[in-house]
Every structure is written in C-alpha cells, then in structure tokens.
Symmetry: C2
Subunit: 703 residues, 2 copies
C-alpha cells in the first residue's frame, strides 16, 4: 500500500509563519499593565496576512502588531490584507504558560471552526475559517516575551490526491484570459470582499466570481478560488485546508474533480502580477477513518529550531534605554493597581509639580521618595554648596560634588535626579530665602529673591518646607497660604520629627470674606481648610535664631535614621492628600494619641463606614510627631490660629495689599508681624490681665 501511495501526488500545504512586530509587544505591555492586570482570560485580537507575495522565497506570514488589539479594518492594513481573528492568552507566570494544555486549547478553537462550518456561518463568511491562537507570557521586568502561535486546521479530509502537480495560472491561461478573470475578481472583491469565492466561466459573459454561499445554486463551476498567502510554485497556503473542510461538509459531491485557484495577487516592478497563482485539480479525497463528531485539529507552530515549542524574544537590548527606564519605573507603580489599590490615580501623582525648599538631608530623601512615587517634576531651592560632611547624609551628593569649594546644592541635586532617571524634569534655584528679623542690606537683591520664590511657588502644586531653620519657613508658608498651595512641612529634632500638612484653603481672593474666625469643630475632625500651619502654635513672631549658634546648633545634629523616617512620611502624607477625594480639604481627626490600639481599631472601622475621611491610602493626619527614644508616634491635629504670623487672614491681607513693602518691614523687624497678626495686642491683653492681680475669675478674654 505504501508503495502504491508513493506515486500519488498528495497535496501539501505551506503553514503560516508568525510575524510579530515589536509594537505588538509594547502594546501588550501597556494592556497588561493598564487593562488586563491580573486577568489572564483569553482576549480577542486580530491578525492579518496577504496574498501579495510574488517571491517564492518568502514564507506565508501572519502578522500581529500594535493594531491587533484595536479591532482594525482592512483599510488599516493595505488593500490586499486579509484580517483574521485570533485569541490571545497572556498568562501571569511562565509556569502557567508552560502548564496550558496545548491540545485542549487548539481543539477548542477547531471546535469553533467546525461549528461555523456546520452552521453555515463559514459559507457566508469564509474569514471565520482562518483563525489563530497566541499564548504569551510577558516578563515585564526583563522585557522578555515568551510566545507560541497556533493556526488551527481541521484534519478533514485527511488527504487530498492530485491529478498532476499544481500549475501556474500563466501556464494555463493566455494573458487576455488572465486579464478577463482579474477584472471579474476585482468586481467581486469590491462588492463582497471575501477571501474565498466560486468562479464560473460563461462562454458568452466570461468569468464571474460568486460568494461561496451561492455555490449550491451554481452549475459548471470552473474553480473554487481563495486568496493564497503562499508563494511556492508547488504548494497552496494554510487557509485552503479549512476551506476544503467546509466544501467537504457542504459540497462533498463536488470535491473530486474540483479545480482550485490559489489566487496570488501581487505587484512587482510596478506591475500587477497574478500569473504565479496556482491551479490545482483534485483527483481523489480521503476521509478520516474514525468518525469523531469533530475532526481532529492541529496547527501549533514550530519554533526556530524546527520543534513544536515556544519562542522567546528579548526586547531589552533593542529598546532605547531611556524609554526602557520610563516604562520600568511606570511598571512598578502600576503594579500597585493590579491587586492592592485599583482606584489609585497615578497620573495625578505623576503630574504634580513639587517644589522642595532645602536640598539637604530631608530635601534629598524627599526627592528620592517622590521619584519612586512617579513624580516627574521636582525643583529645589537652596543657597548652599555641597560640603564634605553632606554626602553621607544627603543622598543626592557624592564626594565629587564637594571638591573645589563644592557645587551649588540646588543645581547639583537637580542634576543628580536626572542621572538617576533621565525622564526627570528637575531644576535647581540658588536662592537664599529671606527671613523675618534678618536685616536686609541689599534690598534690591532680596526683592528679586522674593519674586523668584513667589514665582516658583506659583508654578508648583506642592511646596515642601525642608530648610534647617524655623524662620526660613515663614515666607514660603505665608506665600503658599496666599496662593492656596498644599504645603508639607518636615522638621527634625535630635531624635524626634514633625511632619505636617498646612491647612489648605483657596488662593487668596480679596473679594472673599476670609477673616472670620472658625466656628468650631465638628465630629472630632477638622476639615483641611481649618487646619493650622507650622506657625499656628507660636505666640511670638519668628525671629533671627541663627545668630550665636554654636557648631552643634548650626549642624543638623540628629539621629540619622529619623531623616529617612520623616522624609518617607512627608511624601506619603502628600500622596495620601492627593488621593483623597477632597484633596487638601481632607479632614483630619483631632487626636488619637491617647487611644489604645483597640480604640483606634474601633475608630478605624467607623471611619471605613464614613469613607469620606479616608483616602485610598488610609488616614490623612494633620501632623505626625515621632519620638524615637520610645518609638512613639502621635497624630495631633490643630486648628488654624486666628493670629498666626504666617497663615492668618490678617497677615495675608496685608501682604496682598502691600506686597514687598510689607515683607521688607518684616525682614528688618519681626515685631511687625506681631502687630499685623494681632499677637502684639494679645500680649498686651495677657499683660494687663496679669496686672489686674486676678481680682475675680475670668474665663479668658485673651482671644
């Protein structure tokens, strides 16, 4: 029997070869991170092939690219492109990729094709016959993509025997006949756009192409045609197999003796070339001996070693490193959304412009933590130079930055951010922040500095107060309040820290009545706009505290660990505020420091019910005070002080009215602040109460 078969001309088909554009992987990466997350259910995608190949050396390509995810139209892929449906299954792990039962997967797809054949759907739409499967595992940390294509084909019939070798069309037809057919095909394509058709040659009317579903009504069928991705002179491409299965089911009686036109329609040297299309005559058809309800299915693609197996592509070497680092950084953040915090708004964080006042220990660590959260826009203000003692504590500087007198800190820190992550938009401003009670000698210079600082605050969304003196925080505190910016403050003691957000109100509006006193506190919480600032607890104006400081008072003498703790908390506080539905107006609980853990948990359950108080990241305290000596942390919330020297309406109104003239007074004499804020009167009241020798009980007229 085998010797008998040897002389038979058995029809063999050229399988598809998959071609994956790197844009496909980029788009898959994006979809995985932003859309699929942990979902590994199969999703529909679209590939395409063409019957344009005019070189017999090219494989029959099935292409996927970035458009595969977008339900593309024929117009998207060129006039001779044929779209085909695919199923993409992207697993979460390499193990899952390996564990998928490949035969089951392809059988499932074969079943779908068979059902489309049985139902007649494939007669109406022969495109349903050409499908593909794509299994992937995307190792997004390494930019390595594992994948395996299948082009499912039904083993039905099981064998096709030909009369003779396939013949090229131009060996059978004259040029004129070819042109006639070509015209008929073009008409069909324009009206039906299908990839398979029935050709009838009428001696008078010439060639005409019909949709497959009309076959039942046609007599004297000349050819069954299909768009053939193969360019081999001896073999048709893969789509013919399922087409023959369709015909074998619906038109079994026509199959023996049928001529098939493998239609190849390319352009070479500017000329349309269709002459290498093949004509095949079927001599006999053999059907499977087992009578399964569904024919067997096969079609897993072989890999580059000619074996049935997966392939891997490593894009990390071919990608632009700066683009790689961008997506790597995004990836780590977006992974938070997969499982833990789907509601996290990362764009909001990324687009937040942060101004860091101080590029010292706190400034460096705050900048690093912001970067890790995806913040792209960071500006430093500092007027120092990098000194030898800095690098071991200030994490954006190295030994080299100290040499030759030291680089300017703000600029050096900004450069460092870009060396860490080239996508950073970072800038350094060398500027000394003018301070109350620090007498101004060069008033023009100082006015320019004030303007620079005010402009910088205008241009940013969040202002971090990270300088090393109290009084250098006054001007930025006041300007942030004036412009309605979120201010985050961090300050260190030897083994203590304070991290707080200033109460955030609307930008100052002279028409608005803002000078009324608070009407008290509701529900054990203060709204964000009611919260105090760093200076709200002071009863004297900030003055010159830098005079006469001994060395240990000039240097930040702190336990090194607390600068990391405070910086980490400061940025987390900012992020919690940003993620809160009410932003800077997020309310803060008044105090939890006297609560036991059990009480706090009860409180937490309550808060979870009243979700309004909670950002997706948790509570948004007003301030966090930590004491390393006993590892204690408390969360005091305090109300804005009507006579505050920095954020009170009285002070801000004066600045709004007088501008720099007011500031110049304050710089030369901090007492001015006590007068404007009303603190001076308060002192007088207190003094006069003391003078009264307490004649009777008083309920405190000091407000």
């Amino acid at each position: 029997m085998s010797s008998a078969l040897e002389n038979e001309k058995i029809l063999q088909f050229l399988p598809f070869s998959s071609v994956i554009s790197s844009s496909f992987w980029h788009k898959l990466t994006q979809m995985k991170i932003d859309v699929y997350a942990l979902n590994d259910e199969p999703v529909e995608i679209t590939g395409y092939y063409t019957n344009q190949s005019t070189s017999s050396r090219l494989p029959a390509c099935l292409n996927v690219d970035y458009s595969s995810f977008d339900n593309p139209q024929v117009s998207d892929i060129g006039s001779n492109g044929i779209l085909c449906k695919g199923l993409l299954q992207n697993t979460n792990t390499l193990e899952a990729f390996k564990d998928i039962n490949k035969q089951n997967a392809i059988n499932k797809c074969g079943e779908q094709i068979w059902n489309d054949i049985l139902s007649g759907a494939a007669l109406s739409n022969p495109g349903l016959l050409t499908r593909f499967l794509l299994l992937t595992f995307a190792d997004l940390k390494k930019y390595q993509f594992y994948y395996w294509f299948a082009f499912p084909t039904l083993v039905f019939p099981s064998k096709i025997i030909l009369n003779e070798e396939p013949k090229e069309l131009n060996k059978v037809l004259s040029n004129e006949e070819i042109l006639q057919f070509q015209q008929a095909y073009d008409e069909f394509k324009a009206s039906h756009g299908q990839s398979a058709f029935v050709v009838v040659k009428n001696p008078e009317l010439g060639y005409k192409c019909h949709p497959l579903k009309e076959m039942v009504n046609l007599k004297d069928i000349t050819w069954i045609g299909f768009c053939d991705p193969s360019s081999l002179p001896t073999n048709p491409g893969w789509p013919l197999r399922n087409l023959l299965a369709l015909l074998a089911h619906h038109h079994k009686e026509h199959l023996v003796g049928l001529s098939v036109l493998c239609w190849r329609d390319g352009v070479r040297d500017g000329q349309r070339r269709v002459g290498s299309s093949l004509l095949i005559e079927i001599k006999d058809v053999i059907y499977p001996t087992e009578s399964d309800s569904i024919p067997k299915c096969l079609g897993w693609e072989k890999n580059e070693r000619g074996k049935l197996g997966a392939r891997m592509v490593n894009l990390s070497n071919s990608m632009n490193p700066e683009r790689l680092v961008e997506s790597a950084v995004d990836l780590n953040l977006k992974l938070m959304k997969w499982r833990l915090l789907p509601e996290l708004n990362l764009d909001l964080i990324q687009n937040t412009k942060c101004l860091l006042l101080g590029a010292g220990t706190l400034g460096c660590y705050v900048a690093r933590t912001l970067m890790a959260w995806g913040v792209r826009h960071i500006t430093f203000i500092d007027n120092g130079r990098v000194s030898y003692s800095n690098p071991v504590r200030q994490s954006l500087f190295g030994f080299d930055n100290c040499l030759n007198g030291g680089q300017p800190k703000a600029e050096s820190a900004a450069n460092s951010l870009r060396q860490i992550f080239p996508g950073m938009i970072s800038r350094g401003i060398d500027l000394r922040i003018p301070m109350p009670g620090h007498y101004v000698t060069d008033t023009e210079e100082v006015e320019k500095d004030v303007q620079l600082l005010a402009d910088a605050i205008d241009e940013h969304d969040v202002v971090f107060l990270l300088t090393d003196t109290r009084e250098s925080r006054w001007l930025p505190s006041m300007l942030s309040a004036y412009r309605g910016k979120l201010a985050i403050n961090a300050a260190l003691g030897f083994d203590t820290y304070l991290v707080m957000r200033h109460g955030q109100r609307e930008p100052w509006n002279p028409g608005q009545v803002q000078s009324e006193k608070s009407k008290g506190v509701m529900r054990g919480a203060l709204a964000g706009r009611q919260l105090g600032c760093y200076f709200c607890n002071d009863v004297v104006a900030p003055g010159d505290s830098t005079k006469d400081r001994t060395l240990d008072q000039q240097c930040t003498v702190t336990r090194p660990g607390i600068s990391l703790i405070a910086s980490g908390l400061a940025v987390e506080l900012m992020v919690s505020v940003l993620q809160h539905p009410q932003g800077g107006n997020a309310s803060a609980e008044i105090s939890t420091d006297a609560m036991t853990t059990v009480q706090q948990q009860q409180q937490q359950e309550m808060d979870n019910k009243e979700a309004i108080n909670i950002s997706p990241l948790g509570v948004v305290p007003h301030s966090i005070r930590g004491f390393l000596h006993r590892h204690q942390q408390v969360l005091p919330a305090t109300e804005a002080f009507f006579n505050c020297t920095a954020c009170s309406p009285l002070v801000i109104q004066r600045y709004a009215e007088k501008g720099y003239a007011f500031l110049a007074e304050v710089f030369n004499n901090a007492d001015v602040l006590e007068q404007v804020s009303g603190l001076a009167d308060l002192h007088k009241d207190i003094a006069s109460i003391e003078d009264w020798d307490y004649p009777e009980e008083s309920e405190g007229s000091t407000d």
Copy 2:
C-alpha cells in the same frame, strides 16, 4: 618739647609675629570636637620663639603648632627654642569671638605678669614675662579659623632713651672676646636654661653669666642679657620690654646707664654666628605720669592689613579632600556628644562591621543610614544586576548602572559607597543565597556559596536581613544564631513594615547545654538572648514561595515611603543595641501596643529609674511593626520558639554536627527542617488531638 624729643634716640622694639602651623588648627579641631566641646573657657597652651635668626629680613616669630596643646619640653622644639606660656580662648561662635573685650583680656594677662614681677617669681623664672594670648573661633564646618594674637607688654617704663644707636657685638668685641663670652653663656644655659641673665666680666676670670635673681648680690654688672628673637640691626625684640619692667621695679637704680645684650645665637653656613647680637646703652628712663597700681598693657597683633584686627585662615583649600571629608563626617557625629549624648560611644559604631544581605531598596537605604552613623565597613551580598526600575527606589544606583544588562548589584552598591565617602571599606559579593525547598542542581556551586556566606557572617559583627523573600532569610538567620551574631531584619508589605532584632546568644558551643526550654519571662521584659527570630512565629518550614509568582508579587510593590522608614528604624535599632550596656542581650519590653501615651510615659519614668533597660538612645524593642494606613506602630516582643526552624538549638545542633550535608537536605526538601526542629511532631500531636474528637477539655498539650 616735641622738638627736643626729636633728637632723642628712643628705643623701639620689634613686636612678635605669630606663626601658626596648620597642625595647630588640626589639633585644635580635634580638641574642640573631642575634649572642649561647648566649653569656651581659656586653656593654657605653649608657644615658642628662638633667638637663632641670622637674617635681618625675618620677623621675630612666635610659633604655635600641634605640640602647643601638650605641654612640650625644650627638647621638643630644638636647642635654641624658648618656650612661652599662652592662653587659648576658643569661642563657640563668631559673635562671641567678636564680642570679647580685647582690652580686658590683655589687661588680665598684664596683671598676671605684673604680679609675677611684684612677687619676684619673674626674677626666678624670667620665662613668666613672655606670655601670649590667642583668641580663636574655629568654624569647623568650613575649615575656617578666625584668630587674634596678643603679646602683652607693660608700658613701664613708658620710654627708654639711648646714648647712641645699638651696636652689633662684633663691632664692640674682638672675636676672641666673643668666643670667651660664648663659652660663659653656654655654661649658663646648660645649668640654668633661662632666657635672661646677668653678665659680669671679671678681669681675671673673664665673663660669667648669672641668673637674674642673683643680680641683687652682684657688682659691676657688665650687661643684662636676654635671648632676642629680633634680627634687626637697630631694634631688640619684644621680650626686652617686660624684662625692663622687671628691672625697673626691682633694680630701678641700675637702669640708667645699663648695658643690655640682645643675644642672637644662630647658625649660618654651618658656623655659629653670634656677632649680630646687639649692645644697647640706656641713657635715660621715663616712667608713666599716672600712677596706676598696675601699668598699662598693650600688645594685640596687627593683621595682614596693618590694622589691629583678627585674621582668618581657610584650610579647606589646602587640605587633602579625602582627609577633609573624614573629619567632616566625624564632626557631625561628634557634635552629638557635646550636648545631647556625652555617653555615646562612636568608636563602637565606627568599628562595627556590617553585612547587608540584599542590595535592593532596603539594602541601599540601610547602607546610607549606617554611613551617616559613621559605620566604615559595609559588605553587600546580592546576586542581581541593576535593572531599569531600580534607581528610582534603590538609592545607590543611577541610570548608568542599568546600561548594557546592568552592573552586578552588590559590587555596584559597594562602589557607590566609596564614591559617596572615599573612607568606606566596602565590598560586594555576587552570591545567591541558597534556600530551603529550592532544589539544588549544582551542589558544588551551592556548597561554595554557603561557605562564602558563612565566612562573610564570621567576618562581620551585624547581619542585616534585607532580601525580598522569606526563605532567603533562613540560612543567614540560622548561621547568625550559630555564630552568635546580631541579626537585624527588615521586611516590607504594601504599606506595612517589620523591623526586628533576632535574639542574640553566645556563639554555638557544643559543650554548653543550650537545648533547654526557656523558664519563662520576668518583669514584663525578655532578655536579648530569650528573644525570637523572624522564623519563631512559623509553624511550617520556609519553602519555595517564588514559584508561580505574578509580576506584582515578584516586584516589591510597596508604598515607597515605607522602605525609608524601615531602613531608618533598622539602623537605629542596631545603634541602640550597640549602645546598650548589655548589647545584644538588652532586654525588650513585652508589649506596649495596648498602652495609652500616658501609660507609656509612666512606663518611661519607671524605665529611667531602672536604667538597665534603656540604652542612651532609648528603648531597644524586639520588633517594630508599622501600619501606614493608620499611622500605627507597635513594639511586640516575642520569646524564642523551642521548635523554631532557624534559631532553635535542635536545628543549630544538627548543623553543627553535619554541616553542609544537613543544609543540602534542607535545600532539596524543606520538610527536613520540620523533622529536625520538632515541628513535624507538633503537627502530629495537633492532628491526633483533633482526631480525639475533643473527649474532654484539654489545656493544650501542643507544646
């Protein structure tokens, strides 16, 4: 009167010029930081001058150098050196330096000299006449030193009038006479070593030098001699002024007509040269008209602009930068001791060798915090390469470290430490830590890795566990317990952290009975050796948890701030342990998490009384668990578990006996650990209890 004076030859003196060796400033820096701290009281130092100058172009130098602080002997400064006493007053601030009343200061010194004259002390020891004052302010942050010398001299007599210009000795005496005197002087110097003397020439015996105190008994005084730092041909040096004051008080009758020998005794071209010594004859002496009880005093040095004023020297440019950075780093730490923590033992910290397992987010921040505490010796173990997502979170890497496949992390981190601070002794070991349940294929390779890790643990004092899986911490936990090293563990969740110290016991000693169970807990605290390790709460052995992890489980998906918090706390915990008088055996309170702040304060007061529980830096908890969602922190302390898979005596004994053979079993099958530790039996017991269908109440026989 003034015209009459014009023709008078008034004796004028060449003042001292101060010469400060840079070694003086270095020593001052060290004394300020380590000894004086905030103390700004004047301290005695010693300077010196010589009468060796043979060039008339050189000033009369008074020198101070590093030896000035050490009470030097003449032998330290060369044979012709003359020591003189000085008072150094180093202020804490530049303001204090400026504010010192200069006239008062020099008057006080003048009073001392006058008292030594009145008491006769200066007759016995004429060295008491030549004193100096030195005011300094050392800006140790900038290596700038402000200073001002005074060479106090009494205005008494107020004027000395000469017969004629001073004459050089070789113009008056023959060479032979000079040689005769020279011999007499050398004898005097050898026996008395004083800088002033009385010369008598006996026609028969020749020259003889006598101590000043013998002057009262001498007749026919030829000269009064003194060692003259001046080399001018016309003027004696400054020491003569107070010497004349001494003579004016004790021997007023001799002064008019006195001859003074300004003795200059140098070497030039290999030859002793004394011929330029001067002889001065006093014609008249004028005394102050006011009769103050103490003569006026003057002598503040003029600065480089010829004005009475301070000078400043900036050493930062001339110092070796690597030395500068060393002392700058030390300075910041030593300042802690000035005021806040005099008992802090910085050497102990500096000499602690730290091994960091993991050079990721935690490893980088822990290393930075250790450096800031002055730790010099840091070794990283990691087997990863720097990837694109790392630098924004891992603070020792930059974009450049990611290129071309990424540098090995351990080595790259170690290099980075040296770029920050060249004094670091840092090393990276590229090593994959073998893990329980991770089947070993290359057993030789793994055995080598185990040996490398064990050696590294041996060579260090503290082991930080900072890897990203639980099971990679098992082997180093076990080895640290075996070797009795302090292990500090830090682990992150999405918004939680755990920082803990493992219980620290003595290195394993087979002779010692260590396998008995703990006898319970005293006084609400656990001694360090009783504390558990990271695995003590586990009831199953650590296994392979890395299989089948999705991308968000592979990457550290954490709120970026918590890695800073955990790293800061981990290092502070280590430092607190090191500073505790009992080190790793420091006891930990069992739990404070249910206490209110008030209760905790009461506890604190109690602890302060029982200082044994407290390190100078505060409590030394067993563990710190933080929850960022509600900004909570608790300090649980738990006892070591007798069946712990990592630190129990059962497991360690097995390792001690079988070595790598035991480990190889564990790597291939984590169940071995459950058998060795007794956990397996425990499971059986529990299972059988469950089988019993709870026939009666049982008090738990599960231990």
